[in-house]
Symmetry: C2
Subunit: 208 residues, 2 copies
DNA sequence: GAATAATTTTGAACGTCGGTCATTACTCAA
DNA sequence: TTGAGTAATGACCGACGTTCAAAATTATTC
């Protein structure tokens, strides 16, 4: 026997459930078609709601994308934290870099949200986004600290940013296929070379 | 006395002239409103042609953007070449990096075409684009060569790519405002630190 | 000059998009 | 059962990239 609620189109759902449904569909869409393929209408089609519904849950398209980015950063942070085991300081940083590169390679289209998505108009990233960035940066700073005992806090902070930006540059160019016609050098070779050489070049730690 | 050709809307132009008109309008548009603000219709409005006309000159929007990118790369290459004067090898590379960073800061919106523009669908960058990249890379490789006398060609090539990608990462994150909530560290400090530290970390040249 | 051919420019039309909001469909407590 | 409150809708807006038959303009020929 068929109850009415089996047929209705406009199913009521718990708000959280709907939110997750939207985000999952959005993620799938990006994974298979990239940022360009992510449209409100397409999400709506996937989850069998009308486009308007999305705007009861998210302010706009940017907010959906930023939420995906946020979760990406969370996941990345998790990966980085789980590489803390290595006793040797340098190796630990190389591990961090490898985790970063590996993560970016696993799903390039998703990853490229982080480098490819620009906010419309001139509005800037929300606070929680910057906070997440800071956490990531802190992770790098902590790993760097033992190598830079004699340096200012600001030096450590600068080096962390340089490492971060460098990895970002390598992965985002690689994902965009803009790094090399010929070389086809494995991504992690570039990343390893970068990290190892940079660390090697840091001023030797002075004991106090 | 008013001749007919003074009034007509549909002025005939030399094809090259029209092409330049379009590109100039496109460039202006990007400079003031970024990639998002660059629409075929808006270009057409600016130059007082109809949208269709653009498609007699360019295949599609991507081609216009790629042409802008190409000219950017040309200009950058020019800047890099004009810093070759410095006798000291290390300083010369630092100069290259500074030229790069300076160039990217002069017009951030234009610059961010290079990092922000993704080709639609899955079509890849045209050959001449890759060739230009190779030239840029060659420029770096030449500057690196004296520092890496004992190394393989492939090592030099790899280091050039790392330098390039690192600079790309720093400038593109900076342009996107994603590098630091607090620090507000001048861009060139990061770039200098990156280049100098990386160079310092390169294996010492072996004399043969 | 007129007449014809060749070329350039047009702008309406198509399908898409992000986003809005009055209307509708549904839920549930009284 | 009813009526208030909530969730979902989908037509609508303005804008987009792109196409293409038709129109306007220029070139060529007689």
């Amino acid at each position: 026997m068929v109850r009415k609620t089996d047929i209705i189109k406009r199913a009521k759902r718990a708000p959280e459930e709907l939110r997750e449904l939207i985000l999952q569909a959005a993620k799938d869409l990006v994974e298979e078609r990239g940022l360009e393929g992510l449209s409100a209408r397409e999400i709506a089609r996937k989850i069998e709601y009308s486009p308007g519904t999305l705007y009861n849950v998210f302010k706009d398209r940017d907010e959906i994308i930023l939420t995906l980015e946020s979760r990406l950063l969370d996941e990345l942070l998790g990966r980085l934290k789980s590489t803390q085991g290595c006793p040797d300081t340098r190796k630990r940083i190389v591990c961090l870099a490898n985790a970063y590169v590996e993560f970016s390679s696993e799903n390039p289209k998703l990853w490229s949200l982080l480098s490819g998505h620009r906010l419309s108009d001139d509005k800037e990233a929300p606070d929680w986004y910057q906070l997440k960035m800071d956490k990531l940066m802190q992770c790098l700073e902590e790993a760097l600290l033992p190598l830079m005992e004699g340096s200012d806090k600001s030096d450590v902070s600068r080096s962390a940013r340089v490492l971060w930006a460098g990895l970002h540059g390598i992965t985002s160019l690689a994902v965009a296929g803009k790094l090399s016609t010929v070389s086809s050098e494995p991504l992690n070779h570039l990343a390893d070379n970068f990290v190892e050489t940079y660390l090697e070049g840091l001023p030797p730690a002075s004991q106090t």
